[in-house]
Symmetry: C2
Subunit: 372 residues, 2 copies
């Protein structure tokens, strides 16, 4: 089982226990300044580090690179344009080619610095170069810190389908420095808070209450609050992933709370119009309304979740979407899974269930209830 | 440990025991006619099979496809041009795209039919599509039957470097039908025999003696002889791979006997001029000569290996290569591994050792001894 230890000076350390190999997630302010020695401790024999970073990041990457050089790593630096379109075959081919040209081999490691796009893309490059070389993740957005840094999913998109090519490739170390969030645009930051709230609803009532009691400091990027939220979120995700590492038992499905609606909204809006967390926030509200229509929760539950999401500056309503179109989009997603449409629905704060066979009329009503 | 069981009617069955998941290699004539039911038994819930085959194969693929359809698999058929150039980013992208277009998902499997090129390429597509779907290998060349069907290596080339992108992805079932070799060109067939002889030298004196005693029937594609050679070769490789699945302990290096010289010869000849097994055969002869120069084996050993290789219609001499150029090529390979140049050298039939620090003069002499 994942184990979280906390210490006033060294911050949080979460040990993720997976079948293959356990790895730690370290969470502390200023941590990236010690990237070199920490990575050297993790991989004493590595000779060469390929630092793959979001092109929008400047000083942070230089700091990590200097620290790696001081720890005796030969360096290759590659930047990736910001945005989802970088998760492409063309970009991963460019990474492979650049890595090969600079003599990357099985004595090398990949250090990914950025949000989910860089983590997924660089992670897949690490998973597939020389049949897999060690990966270090330094996520720099709240969303990637609480979501993609745990679980080992790496990958790229094909036109029309996200994450369809990739690998499960667990990092050897994840370093989370909440100071990296200081320059993150507020809207992107809030988008990450949606996933934190999600963990609260699906499995962690204490996390949900903590968020309610600290809405203000969460919204204002208070370092102590972020440390706590990130550590608890990673612990939640680690617990689920440990039970279902390769997404075979169905347990991992609860992480999709708010996502069935959310994906449909995101796709209809056009990717990039709504941020992922914003679509999830609206989707969580719709899922709660659907649960209420089915008698699984009461109006008080819906209000409580709505109040929290709104307090975190997240949208809870979808403007101008046709419920029928969203329904069809969900059907299409279902078809892509060769399966039936399931919803992850809450029964109380801290508990959700997988529900099949929901009637279309109820789904349309739930969407309508969340349209402004 | 790998277990080989044999039965007059059902042929050979080799159970390969790997950390993750054991899988069987079935070896029998006419086996491909039962592909559907055998694959159905292995993967009872799979709904859809993507059959990826060498474009030069006709009737065999149709037979497997019909058998799969009769076993209730929806089918997608994709062919790949013959030859090493198909192990490219472009081809794997085409596979991913075609698979996606025909609704491949986690309820699908990949069935690879062909030689090493198709096995490696389709294997990587299976490893990376939807983060990994089940793979069935039906190798149709002797080389792929005795070599690439065991070990789980999949991958593609980048310009100038073979197999640099890929994954370890173990098949769920390997089906080897010696009848598929009947149409294989004699030269390609003999190339596979080089790897069989290699297993004899590195670890299986009984296999080496069997080859000596059955040179004629081996060369003439006698079905019973092939069955035995393939089963014993796969057993050898499985034993090595089980000890060193991810090529981390160094044990797997013994499989490179004849390959240090062989790769240099292959590269200098230009890929495709010499077949892989032909280069390995010459490389084995050079390695034996080098071992003799170092006092590790006597001339009788070299003669015995030479006689067998010649008896199998394999070349043992390199014409017109500059020893100095081959040496430099080996140095370059060494540099690519961030390591020192090791040779796998025999001490007797059935035993080899990893030897470092060999002097250049001895290597040049060994090459010269094998030049006609």
């Amino acid at each position: 089982m994942a184990k979280l230890t906390s210490n006033p000076s060294s911050g949080h350390r979460l040990d993720v226990e997976l079948a293959d190999r356990p790895y730690p997630i370290l969470i502390n302010e200023g941590l990236t300044q010690s990237a070199g020695p920490l990575i050297r401790d993790t991989l004493p024999k590595a000779k060469h580090a390929v630092v793959i970073s979001d092109s929008a990041l400047g000083g942070l990457v230089a700091g990590v690179a200097n620290s790696l050089e001081a720890a005796n790593f030969r360096l290759t630096r590659i930047t990736v344009p910001s945005g989802e379109t970088s998760k492409s075959v063309q970009q991963v081919e460019r990474l492979w080619t650049d890595m090969l040209a600079d003599f990357t081999d099985r004595g090398s490691i990949v250090v990914a610095i950025g949000g989910g796009v860089v983590g997924d893309l660089a992670g897949f490059a690490a998973a597939s170069f020389a049949r897999g070389i060690p990966l270090i993740q330094i996520p720099t957005t709240l969303l990637s810190q609480v979501d993609s840094s745990v679980g080992g999913k790496t990958g790229i998109n094909l036109p029309g389908t996200k994450n369809i090519v990739g690998a499960f490739w667990q990092p050897r170390l994840v370093m989370i420095d909440p100071l990296t969030l200081s320059t993150l645009p507020q809207r992107e930051y809030a988008s990450g808070l949606a996933e934190v709230a999600k963990y609260g609803v699906i499995m962690a009532p204490d996390l949900f209450s903590y968020l309610e009691e600290n809405v203000e400091s969460a919204r204002n990027k208070d370092i102590g609050t972020i440390n706590h939220l990130v550590a608890k979120s990673c612990l939640c995700k680690a617990e689920v992933v440990e039970e279902d590492e390769r997404e075979t038992s169905g347990r991992r499905a609860i992480l999709n709370y708010g996502h069935t609606f959310g994906h449909a909204i995101e796709a209809e809006a056009g990717y990039g119009t709504l941020l992922h967390g914003e679509a999830v926030s609206i989707g969580m509200n719709m899922a709660a309304e659907l649960a209420r229509l089915l008698g699984r929760v009461d109006e008080a539950f819906c209000r409580r979740q709505r109040d929290l999401l709104r307090g975190l500056s997240l949208p809870i309503c979808a403007d101008g979407y046709d419920a029928q179109v969203l329904w069809e989009k969900m059907q299409h997603d279902k078809k892509m899974q060769h399966g039936s449409l399931h919803f992850v629905l809450p029964s109380r704060i801290g508990h959700v269930e997988l529900v099949a066979g929901v009637e279309k009329a109820h789904v349309l009503d739930a969407i309508a209830a969340c349209s402004s």
